[in-house]
Amino acid sequence: MSWLLNHQRAFRLALLRLLQTPFATLFTLLVVGLALSLPSAMYVGLKNLNHWLGHLPISPEISVFTQTDDPAALRTLEQSIRGEAGVSAVRLIRREDALKTLAQQLNINDLVDGLARNPLPHTLVVTLGPDTPPDRYSQLQQKFAALPTVLAVQYDAALNQKLHALRQLVANAALGLGFLLAIAITAVVANTIRLQILTQRDEIEVSMLIGATDAYIRRPFMYFGLLQGLLGGLTALLLLAGFSWLTQPYLAEFTQSYGNTFIPQSLSLSEAIALPVCTAALASLSAHIAAMRHLHRMRPSL
């Protein structure tokens, strides 16, 4: 029971210390919030970029040309292509349709009408999932080329490489931002804890002399860090909400230019919850370590 009591008291003390210096607290929360909201906003931006990349009409495709005209053989071919890992869609373009399109595009209807027979093959257009790595494309190209009745296989390797590299960059940038975020909180919280310990030096020293355990002394600082992290995370969410409200009209214009197929992304509910929870956890850990270090330094005379 005294365990629970100790934690209650430490929490109340931490809350009291936050409230006792409202301006310093507000300032710290703003700093933590800003430090967090900047990388968070960039994260949302990256998320949108990635989403947008996924919706580009230029997602790479593999074209498989086949010499067969037999419906059964076509179906078998289509099925074996569909069975490959990473394939998300297969679309058949019949040779008649291909010729018609070609004739229209090149405006050579007369010429085409004059042809004795259709020189074009049937084409199976294969779309792969958005996260398929580039070497899977070349792998599949070879596999498809070896299938019966296949004349040739074609895909735009360069575009595919570029898109993949861009996605990879986005993912790495998000990871780097997470790292920056962690460093920002750790630094800010550790500094406030250091200042707290300095102003409470006497009380800490006396408490140690009359039988306080290290855990007892560290506890209010840990809760102090936890509250700062939690409130800082919430401040960041508020700033982020304000930011997206401000940019809303411009984004709407942008999405309209893409025929509204692109829906602007913001933080999902789980991400919005994860932000303050993670910052609270990180901040209390940082506070714990900072308190441990400074108390250790205070100890030699005790």
């Binding site: 005294s2 002399l209 009359i210």
Partner: protein, 216 residues
């Protein structure tokens, strides 16, 4: 209760504060430690509370070897001791009540229990009614009483007091000493460091006399 066996304490700067000191204090005994300024009285008391560790020899307090104590065990040892510091170590921006309550807070005592015990301790030293006062508004003697209240509030088995009559006039000093006598009478082990000869005579009982870190 407290036993020193060939204890020496040498500080980092090379100061030899105690030199080969041996003695035993039985449970329930009252002992005065005396000697000139710099003789090693404070160091002796600090060793008992694990505030300093011996350089040589063995210090036993309540059957615990101070030199071999794990750092995590030190707080629990100190909870059995009531300490009156030579430099008071009061928290000057905290009330008399809060100062007295500190040892109980540290031990996780429930709130109403704290209220009862703090008032009992303040009553014993004659500071009841000063609960809300800040230490700076108290006289030197009253501050000394506050230190004693804080030392006894958790009802320790041992009281260690370092110059508790420091700068007090003789009459006030005697009233402080009477308090220690009364604690001794109810079974508390009391160790008082003082350089004041008249107080020594007033207290009677056993005296440990130090000179330049050597027990005479």
């Amino acid at each position: 209760m407290i036993s020193f066996s060939q204890v020496s304490k040498r500080f980092k700067g090379g100061q030899q504060a105690l030199n080969n000191v041996s003695f035993t204090i039985e449970s329930g005994e009252m002992v005065c430690v005396t000697g000139h300024s710099g003789a090693g009285k404070s160091t002796l008391l600090k060793l008992m509370a694990a505030i300093e560790l011996p350089s040589n020899g063995t210090v036993l307090v309540a059957n615990q070897n101070i030199g071999k104590l794990r750092p995590a065990a030190i707080p629990y040892l100190r909870r059995n001791l009531g300490l009156v510091f030579q430099d008071h170590k009061l928290l000057y921006e905290r009330s008399v009540f809060d100062n007295t309550a500190l040892p109980l807070l540290v031990q996780g005592v429930p709130r109403d229990e704290i209220g009862k015990r703090v008032r009992a301790a303040l009553d014993k030293v004659g500071l009841l009614g000063f609960e809300k006062a800040l230490p700076v508004t108290l006289s030197g003697g009253e501050q000394q009483r506050l230190c004693i209240a804080r030392a006894i509030v958790s009802r320790p088995a041992v009281l260690l007091a370092d110059e508790p009559t420091g700068n007090l006039d003789p009459e006030y000093a005697r009233s402080i000493m009477d308090m220690f006598k009364s604690f001794h009478q109810v079974g508390v082990t009391v160790v008082i460091a003082t350089h004041d000869e008249t107080m020594l005579q007033y207290m009677g009982g056993r005296t440990l006399s130090l000179s330049h870190g050597v027990l005479q």
